[in-house]
């Protein structure tokens, strides 16, 4: 039962592995970015899960509330989300430039072009 009780961690692990798998198995640069996104999202879940306190409510100071979730991980992950968005933006911009230069966004094709240039 304990294993099922930790289902949120299972979600984190599955997402993380899925993200890594996409990074390893797909050549398309956009798909890679999706993989990276999934991977990063899994970390966000990890942090948010940590902040959850069983039976706690939102961390608002009010009468009658004894237990509340830890707000710090949420705050941290807001920063991480911003970073993730910035990374994605830079990456997509780079992909656009790569497409302009190489006429493809498949990494194996790009590598073929590059190794031809390396030899010359």
């Amino acid at each position: 039962m304990q294993v099922l009780g930790l289902y949120n961690y299972w979600v984190v692990i599955i997402l993380m592995m899925a993200g890594l798998y996409i990074l390893i198995a797909r050549y398309n640069l956009i798909k890679k970015m999706i993989g990276l996104g999934v991977f990063q999202t899994s970390i966000f879940y990890l942090y948010i899960t940590m902040g959850k306190v069983q039976g706690g409510t939102a961390p608002i100071l009010a009468d009658g509330i004894e237990q509340y979730s830890n707000p710090l991980p949420h705050v941290l992950i807001l920063t991480a989300i911003v970073v993730g968005v910035a990374t994605t933006a830079v990456a997509l911009a780079l992909i656009v430039r790569i497409y302009e230069e190489f006429d493809t966004i498949e990494e194996d094709e790009i590598k073929a072009i590059e190794s031809a240039e390396q030899d010359s």
Binding site: L20, L23, I24, A25, R26, Y27, K32, E107, D108, K111, E114, S115, Q118, D119
Partner: protein, 562 residues
């Protein structure tokens, strides 16, 4: 004051070389040894210039009688070489000479192993430029070989000193002895520079490749610094006696048949080093005195011989015995100086070799090393054969080559005459030299029995020469290359791979192609995987990189959870 310590003086002067005019450079080269000598003599015995560096106390000047005599003769040698090289207008050579001489003096003054190592490497790097200064492809290749071996010696010294430091916690350069792996490594490092048998060939390989003046400089420092280092660290190590005995004997044969006179001298240098190494090995006060005295005399007469052969090379463009002969007619001064050098190295009474070599011979015999002593006596006859007779005879007399070069230039003659006078002076008044020796000297070289036995040895050897020449038994001078241990790395090693492949192929015909492929592919594989595009320097894609990350993560987790 510290900047005026002899080694620093030389290095400082070397820095000045690029900005000076041609005449002032030659003058600087001449003056630096003079001031260096004054500076050296102005220090009292003991340790000076102890500078904390790298967490150690480095002693840059350690003056006692042993280092003093080497310091003095190195200064004299640098001075004589400067006169001899007065005509040279080559900043590289002049700078290299100063750095080289300065580091050699620094090396003998070094009071600890780290300082010694620094100068040890500096001599290697500086001296190679004297070879490269010929600026031919051949001298470049030779210089490369020389440099690799010299640097190897330094690396061994470094490795040894680290081990030694680890063992004892001391970097002091005093008596070491063969007591640990560290001291063995240092010993081998010294041995390479001292041209021990089978490590000797860099000497014969490189000295004939240097410039006319460069060889004179080279002959003085590197090997004698190694002799000093051995005397300091390994005096009384018995194995040195036998190493030295072999060193005195085997180069004689090579020298006898070698055609290039500068290489003959290089072999003879090796043979003379043998006497010094025996002296270090015997290790008694008298023997060490003999080593120091012989090093002193040897630097002078070997420089004199290299100068005279160099002058011939300078005027005729060759130093090959087969191309020379009859030069006495137009180069008489050079010839006379050469004869003085030859008489000194052969140890004729009244010449310098006589008063120093006999110290070593007597030391070995009085300690009961009779076989070694006999080897040294035989070697003495051998010295006469190649340096005493061959050099002057085939250059200046023998059959007339028809060459009528002009006499050596004035500055070369001056340098040779001064050196020759010094050789004779030491031979006639040995007391002056003996006063400089590390230990008290109570030795009379000129006893009747001593002079008589030496004269017998030499005169009968001369008689043998006449006998052999008359009967046509003496080997004629022929152009050619004589193989030596350098054959292993110049010919065998490069040729080995195909040779092995062929051997396999001829015996096992069935395995022929596969064996060949294996050897060839192995040699290519290393290059193949390392070249751009090879697996080690491939243009990594994201996929493979992330895969590696994942695998590494697994490994780390595996180790951490185990």
């Amino acid at each position: 004051m510290s900047l005026l310590a002899p080694p620093f003086l030389y290095l400082l002067a070397a820095v000045l070389i690029p900005v000076l005019g041609s005449r002032s450079r030659a003058l600087l080269l001449l003056l630096v040894p003079v001031f260096g000598l004054i500076s050296l003599l102005s220090y009292g015995y003991g340790n000076h210039l102890v500078i904390p560096m790298l967490g150690f106390e480095l002693t840059f000047v350690r003056l006692d009688k042993l280092s003093q005599i080497f310091g003095i003769i190195f200064s004299i040698a640098a001075f004589l070489a400067a006169i001899y090289a007065w005509h040279v207008d080559d900043k590289i050579q002049q700078m290299a000479t100063l750095v080289y001489a300065g580091s050699a003096i620094g090396g003998v003054l070094a009071g600890d192993l780290i300082t010694l190592f620094l100068y040890w490497e500096a001599t290697a790097v500086a001296s190679v430029f004297l070879i490269w200064a010929r600026r031919t492809p051949a001298s470049y290749a030779t210089g490369m070989r020389y440099l690799i071996i010299q640097v190897l010696s330094g690396v061994l010294l470094l490795a040894g000193l680290l081990l030694h430091y680890n063992d004892t916690g001391s970097i002091a350069f005093d008596h070491l002895g063969l007591v640990s792996l560290g001291t063995w490594l240092i010993f081998i490092g010294f041995g390479i520079k001292c041209a021990f048998p089978l490590m000797h060939n860099w000497l014969q390989d490189s000295y004939p490749a240097a410039t006319v003046t460069g060889t004179v400089v080279l002959s003085a420092f590197t090997t004698k610094m190694a002799v000093y280092a051995l005397a300091r660290g390994y005096a009384g190590t018995e194995i040195l006696i036998y190493i030295g005995a072999i060193m005195t004997l085997f180069p004689i044969f090579f020298a006898e048949i070698e055609n290039d006179l500068r290489r003959v001298l290089a072999y003879s240098l090796n043979n003379q080093l043998g006497f010094m190494v025996v002296g270090v090995g015997v290790g008694t006060e008298m023997a060490l005195n003999g080593t120091a005295a012989h090093a002193f005399c040897h630097i002078l007469y070997k420089a004199l011989l290299f100068m005279s052969v160099g002058a011939v090379l300078y005027r005729t463009g060759t130093s090959k015995a087969s191309e020379l002969g009859g030069l006495y007619k137009t180069m008489p001064v050079t010839m006379v100086c050469c004869l003085v050098g030859a008489a000194s190295i052969s140890a004729f009474p009244l010449f310098s070799g006589f008063v120093s070599k006999s110290l070593i011979l007597d030391a070995s015999v009085s300690n009961g090393y009779y076989i070694v002593w006999f080897a040294l006596v035989v070697a003495s006859a051998g010295v006469l054969s190649h340096s005493g007779i061959k050099i002057p005879y085939f250059t200046f007399f023998a059959h007339d080559s028809g060459k009528r070069p002009a006499e050596a230039p004035m500055h070369m003659r001056i340098a040779m005459i001064i050196t020759a006078v010094l050789c004779v002076f030491i031979g006639v008044f040995p007391g002056a030299l003996y006063a400089l020796l590390p230990f008290e000297v109570d030795y009379k070289p000129y006893t009747v029995s001593h002079v008589l036995s030496q004269m017998q040895l030499l005169c009968f050897a001369l008689l043998a020469f006449v006998f052999l020449m008359r009967n046509g038994l003496h080997p004629p001078e022929e152009r050619g290359v004589n193989l030596d241990s350098d054959w292993v790395y110049r010919k065998l090693a490069p040729g080995l791979m195909p040779a092995i492949v062929n051997a396999i192929a001829s015996t096992v015909t069935s395995a022929q192609s596969s064996a060949k492929d294996a050897v060839v592919s192995f040699t290519r594989r290393v290059a193949g995987i390392s070249r751009p595009g090879g697996i080690l320097s491939v243009n990594w894609g994201v996929n493979s990189m992330v895969l590696i990350v994942t695998v590494m993560m697994l490994i780390v987790l595996l180790f951490n959870f185990s």
